[in-house]
Subunit: 306 residues, 2 copies
């Protein structure tokens, strides 16, 4: 079933212990689309500037991502520069130039309205809500957010959370959103805000999905591992790639039962693990489903008892 | 097969968000022994002071732990006081009174010499080495250490690591010991120092075992989850309880193959999860094997795909 993602298509300058890149394609919607494209058909709504060329667009098109929803504006694209030290979960931002993204008002093309799955990547919660309202027929809505909105637009974010079925955030964000340091308790509080399921990402330790009572999926959480990686070249986009693998797999399955959610957690981890192997989204551009399923087996062997 | 543990039998004053206790039985050897006692016969070598009464000793004896190796000295027992804030992985120490522990020179009773399994809990690496040399017949030697020795007695610790088969430490200790922030790379460096296997404990995220080439157990690491716990009453002793469950299960099995190590990782997590449910080692005093195996199944369901 078709998946619509609304988020950023941007450029990044990144420095890690393995080197640096000056301007590579990035943005939440880029990582998400590429990762999800191995599981389902993907449509993107975003805004880019004049520095976004046909070559950049072809990165998405080659993965059969529908880019007709990308708006082209006068000026430069969103440009972020950051570097990672020993803590790969947190980048030091050198600068964030919003550029054309500052005036992003997402409009959903008519041809996208029948998308069954919707992912609201990390943008202003008011924009997320406006997109959600334009997509009343969506069967399952995933969403992301970040500290900036939790602290700066809390009321608006709480409105948006009522419109989201599955929220994907990290440990720090979950604790901040809930005002509670214990993760399972924090999860319960976030689920009480609206989402039917909450995926908390633990970086190199994997991720846990907690289900709300209204999910009909049962009370027990499920935890998927992350592969111990000897070489994390660039952690940028790992979370969005997780979301792409997770949501993409869900969209590829007819029924959304507990077993499907469990496998989606594994596929999320798998796509995140590929994303960090190269600078930018390069590794996600030319995977095969065979490589993905081979890594899925590695994840399984990492935690499964005979 | 019989297990000998050498470490501390002590008292703790502990404060957490769930309350406080002024003086409860504690110490690495206490938690380890109780946890391991559900899997195998356990013998303890430690030193205690005059405040260690027959009632305290009975806590161990009721679990059939052989306490003849506990030396009784004049003075008070090791007494630690600490409290936990939001970060349950790190206690704030109020005081550490070594007391009789300061002059601890472990001597292994003749009747313990035939122990097949040995666990060197977190004590001075020179003492660990002297115990190891007294136990030349031990079939498998596990060990623990901490930042204090990594920084303060590095050369002695490196000698000791050559005498240990399985080292169990946490993320911070592994990174510090290896001088490397990437965990799998850090694991390789630690394995090059001597141990055949390295268990790195990730607190609430579980633990990973890495195998050295000389282990004969294969190259791939194995990761066991930790149960998301809504109420961590007191994290003290969780690591020693993990070690007790892990080593105890190994000692209960004839063959030390990969599958046995994998299950040992799960049992380690299980015993750690019980330990944190009450202040001190109380929860470990009266478990049943049925409760333990029921929780083992919870751990399994937490991560297993159908």
């Amino acid at each position: 079933m078709a998946m619509l993602v609304v988020g950023s298509v941007a450029f990044d300058a990144i420095k890690t212990r393995y080197g640096k890149v000056d301007k590579v394609l990035g943005g939440s919607a880029t990582y998400f689309s590429l990762a999800a494209s191995y599981f389902t058909s993907v449509r993107v709504v975003a805004v880019v500037g004049e520095d976004f060329t046909a070559d950049h667009e072809n990165v998405l098109k080659r993965r059969a991502v529908d880019t007709r929803g990308i708006q082209h504006a006068t000026g430069q694209s969103f440009f972020w520069s950051g570097e990672y030290g020993e803590n790969l979960n947190e980048a030091k931002t050198n600068f964030t130039h919003l550029n054309v993204f500052e005036n992003f008002r997402p409009t959903i093309p008519q041809s996208y309205q029948d998308s069954d799955f919707l992912f609201l990547a990390n943008i202003d919660p008011e924009l997320q809500a406006s997109v959600r309202r334009q997509m009343s027929r969506a069967r399952l809505v995933g969403g992301d957010t970040m500290n900036f909105w939790i602290q700066g637009k809390r009321a608006e974010l709480e409105q948006t959370l009522r419109l989201i079925d599955v929220l994907l955030i990290n440990d720090t964000e979950a604790r901040m959103l809930a005002g509670e340091s214990n993760l399972p308790q924090a999860a319960n509080r976030v689920l009480a805000m609206g989402p039917k399921a909450l995926v908390i990402k633990h970086g190199e330790y994997g991720a846990t999905v907690f289900f709300g009572q209204s999910s009909g999926i049962g009370h027990h959480p499920f935890r998927a591992p992350a592969l111990p990686m000897e070489k994390v070249v660039d952690p940028t986009g790992a979370g969005d790639s997780f979301a792409g693998g997770f949501m993409g797999y869900l969209a590829s399955q007819g029924e959304l039962n507990r077993e499907v959610f469990k496998r989606a957690m594994f596929y999320g981890g798998v796509m995140g693990s590929f994303a960090v192997e190269c600078f930018g989204p390069e590794r996600l551009m030319q995977l095969t489903r065979e490589e993905i399923d081979a890594r899925f087996q590695l994840f399984r062997e990492l935690t499964h008892l005979d």
